[in-house]
Amino acid sequence: MTPRNRRPRSVDKGLNLAVVVQRYGEGVVGGSEEHCRAIAERLAEKHRVTVLTSRARDYVSWKPECKAGESREGPVLVRRFSNRRRRRTRWFEINEMMLSEDILPEEEETWFRENGPRTPGLLEYLETHGGDYDAVFFWTYRYFPSYFGLPLVADRAILVPTAEDDPAIRLSSLRSFFALPRGYLFLTPEERDLVSGRVDGALAPSEVIGSGLDPVSEDVEDSAAILDRLGIEGAFALYIGRVDPNKGCAAMFWNYLRYLSATKSPIPLVVAGRSVMDIPQSSYIHALGYVSDEEREALLSRARLLIMPSPYESLSIALLEAWNHARPALVNGRCKVLKGQVRRANGGLYYENPDEFVETLSYLVENPETAQALGRQGLHYVEQNYRWPVVMQKVEDFLQQTVAGG
């Protein structure tokens, strides 16, 4: 299959590719946006890549901060389109309906419109110039540019949904939307299963690409000095990320306090990340707040294990980073993605209730050799599946198959 009115093209000679994403640029923080940028820059080594995005940097207000128009950022051409700021009251009103799963089918389009960033110029551009591209990638399904832009170029659209099992995925209009793209790139097999279950008919051709990591260059002396500065001595379990009840942190602390009461010589818990909740007071819990990239690497290189309690994940980068340092992980087994990753990698253990949390954490602490073996297996899994050359080869093969008709 090839796009309408097009002859099959050779991927090797380079394709003309567009990438649509809600925000783009250096310093834009967000899992999907960072994933998009990493892939776009690597695609640009072989192809002509144009990024189509808004002027916003903040996903809450969509305040237009960047200049509209064309600019070259690294190897890609970026075309930014004007967008309106989010009207908070209207957004709040409609988002409440979505969150409480009380939204009517006819209101769903309003939700996607209000979710922003509203970029009518981007849609006009896709309508008039979309056919100039061999493929148009769309990152995340839930924002205005993807939801309204993808149907305009469906015959050459490749969707990277970055879907999680949250209320948004259950919107009924997505059933027909998910039937539109020419192809899909997923982060995990669990995400593919989730989207497959939400589409009318069969899912378009897809590939699970994950995300890439570079090998770590460990400087043992440096990481020791950093941990000294942070006041951390000896073995510790690590949580890294936003400290938020939505990330499963309330349950993690509850479980950890149970572990403390059940264990004679417990391992301390180091919590690294900005907090939006109260952290229990305990001499065994060290809350560091925001940590720099350097400190993050040092913590991962010296932790005995990583705890990942999140109930919703489309792909846990922190988990992959822990394995990149050959550290085992203890993950929330109620999250299908995390459980699936740990089982495939044999890179740690999982828990589904507080008893299992206590038992699995105790096991990993009391059996360091097995824990290390699990960590090494995690590293092996990363090397087999999550190195950039591996990821990009999957993307190139997929392009060859679906776009160039190879």
């Binding site: 799963e101 089982r343 253990l349 209730n353 008893d355």
Partner: protein
């Protein structure tokens, strides 16, 4: 290292989990560290994780279709012509003015909805457990009754006299 060697040295997450879960079960069976709230907690977590599909039995029994608290506000009007204007006024003028109050209330309603869901799950857990225990009791009583019946039959049967 050949494939056979590396395969032999693989530590399996699943095998470890089986063994860890067996340990937990053994301890529970031995009556050590049993926490009666744990099963309720697991059920609560499961209910909160999939609130979309959760419809409590109690809601069915009281025949109350719209049992959930709905913090979302929806502007509507049945008036054919003036309706659009009224909705516009409510949405663009009244709603922004009382927005802070709405935001405050809706957060409380959200918490209340979770509390309600939790209570429903706990009550249903208790009802199921009660029904199960009642059935068990009936079986046990039935068994005791038949045994005592057998005993009585034996007692009432005339003694055999051997001559």
């Amino acid at each position: 290292m050949n494939t056979a060697d590396s395969a032999a040295k693989t530590v399996s997450t699943e095998e470890l989990m089986v063994s860890i879960r067996q340990n937990i079960r053994r301890r529970h069976l031995a009556g050590i560290e049993v926490n009666p709230l744990e099963s309720a907690r697991s059920q609560l977590e499961a209910a909160f994780e999939s609130t979309s599909g959760y419809r409590p039995l109690i809601a069915e029994l009281i025949n109350e279709g719209d049992w959930r608290i709905r913090p979302a506000i929806r502007f509507r009007s049945d008036r054919p012509v003036v309706g659009e204007i009224l909705i516009f006024i409510k949405r663009r003028i009244v709603f922004p003015v009382v927005y802070w109050l709405y935001e405050y209330c809706s957060e409380n309603f959200r918490v209340q909805r979770r509390v309600n869901t939790g209570l429903m799950v706990l009550i249903e857990t208790l009802a199921q457990e009660n029904a199960r225990l009642r059935l068990d009791m009936e079986k046990v009583l039935g068994l005791l009754g038949s045994r005592s019946g057998e005993t009585n039959d034996t007692q009432e049967s005339p003694p055999q006299i051997r001559g």
